[in-house]
Symmetry: C2
Subunit: 223 residues, 2 copies
DNA sequence: CAAACATTCAATTAGTTTCTTGAATGAGAA
DNA sequence: TTCTCATTCAAGAAACTAATTGAATGTTTG
């Protein structure tokens, strides 16, 4: 680690960033932040970490230049430092998927029915949206929905799904999305809808990727 | 790390891959492999690691699905498992550069003259190549050059540079490239050429990125 | 100013990772 | 078979990282 070798010193910089990504809790925090900026307390709650622990992970992410913090009254709000970080996470996901069969295995084990894994690509979804063939539902909490969502999407958080089945067209195809490829909400929604006889699919990735691709989004009050 | 939480289990898979990237020696090995497949001994020599240590790092890279090994007689030859890994390393580099000023600082400190850092993009290089405005030199060792290089490039490894200055057109602009953005060879070549009065620039990135972008390459005997 | 609150800091403990050394494989050559 | 050589394995010491706890900081509110 001595800086006598400049090449090694540069690799050490890259390694430090990669090392920061090399922790499940920190990746989870990044995924939460890919959605919307949030306070420490919120992040701790959503990730299941203690507040102190979250704070420490967040500071590491900040030291690596991956997130930024700003103060808002009593709270400190964190957010991604750079939209490109979503691309980096995507690349990491792709490589991991391709190379480590275990990821798929874990998914399969959890979601028993292989069927519910069928995913629609963004491109395909856009085509079907244009043709008016599809109802798009956003399974994230109302707060995240309000901050931005796919055009024409219906906000249907998981907890409300059963109560609001009537609002869904029984004939039309339904595509559900959520925070990203491995956000469980949309998987669960699809499984539930299929059980009730709906033609439901999952969007291959989620809202952050949609927005990062420069596709149109809507902002609005909660549905 | 119990797998009771499937979401966490998935993030743990991603984290394991990222953690494998989080080590300067391993990133250096990957950079060497981005060029051409190589034996353990060769990698150890080029990276300055002991053989046993290289072997262990390589096995970690293999476990993470980043490299693959095949046997060739007495030796084991390693290579990148997947061309996309170059993209991942590129994304990591971009984020690190943008967010950690230290990288540039280290570079600056080493290459004193800020001037020699001026880089030409791939796109710009292609334009100038088409117009016949530029001499392209490849500063990598002959072996790597033979395995693939930019069309029309002249192989001029650093050690031969001084001896072969005559072969270079004194008027025309020269663009040097090597193994990637942080390969020191092309920096040194540019510094040397400028000292001698040539109009020399560095290609922003290197051969692996060129090839990964699907641009044409030549294979040939050593120049 | 003092109380309440969100976040951060500091110190400890437990668990990983790194590099080194020397011995063990396993393939090819004699 | 036996020798040689490239690579891998195994074990141990040193350095680093994560999570926990309780105290400290700094902001808003009364």
């Amino acid at each position: 680690m001595s800086s006598e070798n400049p090449k090694r010193a540069i690799f050490e910089q890259f390694a430090a960033v990669a090392r920061t990504l090399g922790s499940a809790p920190r990746l989870e925090l990044l995924e939460l932040l890919a959605q919307i900026d949030r306070s420490v307390e919120e992040l701790a709650g959503l990730s299941g970490l203690t507040i102190a622990n979250s704070s420490q992970h967040l500071q590491q992410l900040r030291r690596a230049g991956l997130v930024e913090a700003r103060r808002d009254g009593k709270r400190v709000i964190y957010g991604l430092a750079d939209r490109d970080i979503i691309a980096l996470l995507g690349a990491l996901r792709r490589i991991t998927e391709r190379n480590v069969g275990a990821v798929e295995t874990v998914l399969k084990r959890y979601f028993r029915e292989r069927d519910s894994l069928e995913a629609v690509s963004r491109k395909e979804l856009i085509r079907r949206m244009r043709a008016g063939l599809v109802t798009v539902i956003d399974t994230r909490p109302a707060e995240e929905f309000a901050a931005g969502h796919l055009p024409g999407a219906l906000n249907l958080p998981l907890r409300q799904l059963k109560r609001r089945l009537r609002q869904l067209p029984p004939e039309q195809e339904i595509v559900a999305y959520c925070r990203g490829a491995y956000c469980v909400l949309s998987y669960e929604a699809v499984a539930e809808l299929r059980k009730r006889g709906f033609k439901a699919f999952r969007l291959e990735d989620g809202y952050p990727e949609w927005r990062a691709a420069g596709l149109p989004v809507e902002r609005s009050a909660t549905a």
